[in-house]
Amino acid sequence: MAAGFKTAEPLEYHRSFLKENCRPDGRELGEFRATTLNIGSISTADGSALVKIGNTTVICGIKAELATPPTDAPNKGYIVPNVDLPPLCSSRFRPGPPGEQAQAASQFIADLIDSANIIQREDLCIESGKLSWVLYCDIMCLDYDGNLLDACVIALLAALENAQLPEVTINKETELAEVNPQKLHPLNVTKHPVGSSFAVFDNTIVIVDPTAEEESLSTATITVVTDEDERLCALHKPGGSGLSAEKLQDCISRAVTRHREVRKLIEEVLKSIKPQQ
């Protein structure tokens, strides 16, 4: 296929592939890009994970800090996710405060943490009304080639599973917190949701794991998040063309299988780094 065609008529170019039930990068419509995972490589973070889905690269680092619990929930801690799309990861992002896409992604992750119940906020409380943990989950995109949300969810989950927090006690005399950096405890990750994203072409053709180009040419995108109990944790479809219930059902079942694949990957990688610790 001539390179000129690709740049001049990108949509037609893609359609010509989709007609043949395949995609310009050689994938089938329902095929994910190679997903790789690297856990715990950032030693300054309390937990970290680097995820690559094809070219898309996302890193998540967890930093825990101490704060007074919220006044309306004195027995809870905080989880503060933030998705950053720095100008480094693509020429489409500008420096400065987070743009629309980054804001939407942050909100999506924040909602997911609550709806999927990944971490019990009560577990983050150290002493009710006095002290609790704040988990800052900073997710940064290093290379943006589509399907940001899937990568973010995997990175977040793997980083949380990797995270270790030091033991904190409250000195009875001084009433001050004392941190013991030698004694580390893992977080209790209760649920393990995984997301799968889809792009819709010409209102009918559904492909999984779209690249950045596919995202921009598609008429709609959908992200489905399920957990290990095959429950639907989140369904995110920001506008775009409609989708039949049937197609949606297909997406959900694809998401369930994707969940199993990714879970297996995370567990394998976690197991492989365990002995070193």
């Binding site: 950032i42 101490l66 100008p87 480094l88 405060p97 004392e178 941190v179």
Partner: protein
Amino acid sequence: MPVDTRRVRAPEESQCPLLFVPLLPRGPLRTVAQPEKARVDGRQRSQVDVRPVFARCGLVTQAKGSAYMEAGKTKVLCAVYGPRESERKDDTDMKAGRLVCDFRYAPFSCPKRGTWIQGSEERDAAQALQEALRPGLCLHRYPRAQVEVNVLVLEHDGSVLAHAVTCASMALVDAGVEMYDLVLGCALRQDGDSYLLDPTLAEESGGHATQPEDNQGGVTVALLPSLGQVSGLHADGELRDESVSAAVRACMEGCHRLYPVVRRALVYAARRKAAPPGDSLET
């Protein structure tokens, strides 16, 4: 403080747990090794002893050029965009292109969590980076254009600016920006009469706690290796002047140690690019 509506709400104030570790020596997390002894990681004092370096080009596929570098635990990623049309039209000097540098620490890259908003330290580093790189670039080749260099520190374990310079110059080469020479960086920590080359974070912040003797400080040098010119020099602390000169010499030597590693990575990247698509890369 106005509420930032563009981000998920965080508690107004939270503190780094390290502040609550009892009997924490002031400032640093670990103390610097005794002057006469070897360094914590086994390297020698007052020797041009750099940490093992891993360098690779072309990791950010969306960028015109990119590079990733690890030196010990310090991890730096750099992406280059452009040359593209300059954003600042009012600039009087339109005959040469502009070099725009951005320097960020990932929030989790330091022992204490960083904020989302760019701090003054990052702005200073961006400025220093820009001044160190500019002499190496043929900017007059790109009138009315700007070249953007974005550096992201993923993990900070000392000598960050120095490695950022090296990493950025690799990314510039990867982007095909015309250059007179590479720009390599090397840092040094002066500790009394001895020095620690390519210091770790603990070594960088060490002296502030144990302060008996003077002559404490940090030096960062950027070098154009084949031209033998110094394009960047930063020193802070309190140094005797002869230490400044000696430190510059040691850092230059350190840069030359890096040179073959960086060259190998660049040659590898160039070969990979030159190879026709589909060919096996693992040769």
